[in-house]
Symmetry: C2
Subunit: 318 residues, 2 copies
Amino acid sequence: MAPRGTVVALSGGIGGAKLALGLARRLPPGDLAVVANVGDDFEHLGLHVSPDIDTLIYTLAGLADPQQGWGRAGETWTFMAALEALGGDTWFRLGDGDLAMHVMRTHRLAAGTPLSEITAAACTALGIATRVWPATDDRLRTRVRTDDGWLDFQDWFVGRRAQPAVREIAFSGAAAARPLPAVVAALAAPDLRAVVICPSNPLISIGPILAVPGLRDALASCAAPVVAVSPLIGGRAVKGPTAAMLADLGIGATAAAVAAHYGDLLDGFVLDEADAAAAADVGVPTLVTRTMMLSLADRERLADDVLAFVDRIGATPA
Amino acid sequence: MAPRGTVVALSGGIGGAKLALGLARRLPPGDLAVVANVGDDFEHLGLHVSPDIDTLIYTLAGLADPQQGWGRAGETWTFMAALEALGGDTWFRLGDGDLAMHVMRTHRLAAGTPLSEITAAACTALGIATRVWPATDDRLRTRVRTDDGWLDFQDWFVGRRAQPAVREIAFSGAAAARPLPAVVAALAAPDLRAVVICPSNPLISIGPILAVPGLRDALASCAAPVVAVSPLIGGRAVKGPTAAMLADLGIGATAAAVAAHYGDLLDGFVLDEADAAAAADVGVPTLVTRTMMLSLADRERLADDVLAFVDRIGATPA
C-alpha cells in the first residue's frame, strides 16, 4: 500500500510551482498542501497582486503559460494597451485574464475576507484539489537594500529587472505576522508525511515563509522529514536571480551553501546530478537526481524521486 | 465670420454622445464642453464605473464600438471569461480595454483625486479637445422604484434589462451634491454661445444633471439660448427605455411631452421630421429636422442644424 498523509510543500513562484504540480499529480487528491510565499505581494494600480499564489494556482489548474511559467496561457493584453494610451503605469504588465484574479482578490480583501479564504475559493472554482495556503493572512512584504537604497521587492525585481546587487533583505511586517492556522495545524498533525521545500529562491521565496513567527520552529520540530530541493543546477538558477543573490549576500551560489543556509531545518537534501560532488559536503542524507523540469514528465519523475526519498528518511529511526 | 463661444452640451450616454461628437467635429477645437450624467455611476467588483463619461470619452476619441455605441471598438473579453471561471459576478460585462479606465479611475479616486480631474486627464491623454465635465464630483446615484421595490440604477438597467416598469425616480446624494465649478462658470461666462440638451433620456440622463443644486437655475438664468433635442422619433426612442419610462411615469412618450417636461428651461426645441405635427404644441421656437444619427455625416449635419438654430434664437431679442 502506498504511503498516505499530508505532504506540505513550501513554494515561491515558477520553479516551486513546477514541483508542486508534479507532487499534486503523483499524490492522492487532497494529500498536498502548498504554503505560498506572500513576500512578493504588492499593490499595483490599487489592485492586490499575489504573484506566487497566482503562479501556483495557474500551474495547478493547468492554466499557466507553458513558455514563461508565470501568467496564463492564451493571455491577451488589451488592458495594458488601453492603460498605456491613458498614460497609466505600464512597468508591471497585467494580462487581461490575470486581472480577474487581481480584481476579485482586491474586492474581497476590501470586504474583509482573508487572503487564505479568497485563495481557497479560487482553487475550488478552478477544480484544484491541492490546498494553496498563504504563509500568513497578514501583511508581509519583502524589501531589498541595494546600492540605490531600500526598494520594495517588485520595484527591484520587475521595475529594475533584478539588476542592482542585493546587500540585505528585510521582511516588512514579519514580526507582527501570524502564521496561517492551517499551516501550523498541518505541521503538527499526526498524518504529516513530509515537508518539501521546493526549488525556489531560499532567500526571497522561502525566506519570507520562514520569517513568519512560529513557522520555522514548527518545521524544525515537526515529526515528519523535512527535505529541500536545491534550486541550483551546477551553481546556476534555472531562472531568476537566485544565484546572483546567494553570491551577493556571501552565502555562496552552490547546492551545499543552500543546504547550509537551511541548516538544522533539514532532514534531507535533493541536489542535481551536476552538483553530485557537493553531496559529501551536506550534513544530512542526500538524493542526487535530475532536478531540471522541462516537461510534465520531468515534474512527475522528480516528485516520485522526492517522495521515495522522504519516505526512506521517514522510515529510518533518527 | 463664424460665431464663436462655448457651447455647453448636456449628455447621457450613447444618443447624447453621438450629437456631442457631431458638435465637437463642427465647432472650433475647445469650443465644446459636455456636462456628463453621473447618476449611472456605480461600483462593480470594487471598481468605479462611470458609463456615460466613458461613452463620451470613447466616442469623442474615436475609440467607441461603432455597432453597439458603448464600449470600445476591437474590445476583448478575456477578463470576463477568467472571472466567470473564478465564480465572479458576470452580470455586468467589463471589456478588457474598458477595464483600464475603471482601474485607473478607481485608483485615482481612492487617492483623493476628483472625478473631474481624472476625466480631464483621460481626455488629454486621448487627444480630446472637448472638455468632458461630470455634473458633480460628489456622489449622486440614480435609483428607480419598481413593483419590486427600489433598485440601484444598474441593477435595474443591466441586471433586470430595464424590464420592470419605473414608478418613481430618485437621485441619491443629489441634495448634498455640489455642481462642478467649471460648469457653473461656463454657464455664467459672457462667451457662452448656447446650451444644447442632447437627445438623451430626459429622466435618467439629463434628470440627474438638473438635480444637482444650482444647475437648473444656472441653465434657466443663463444669457445664451438653451435648446433640447428630442430623444424620441415618432414616439419611440432610438435605443433604450426612454419611451417606456416616459409613458410609465405619466409624462407621455411624445416629443411635445419631452418639451413640456423641460418647461421653462428651453428657448428652443429640436424635433424629428416624424414628429413635425407636434411642433405646434411646443411653446418655444422649434426646429424640425432629421434627428436619426446613423452615420458620422448624420451627426455632423444635425450638429450644423442645431448650431444654426441656436444662433438664430440667440440673434432674436427675447
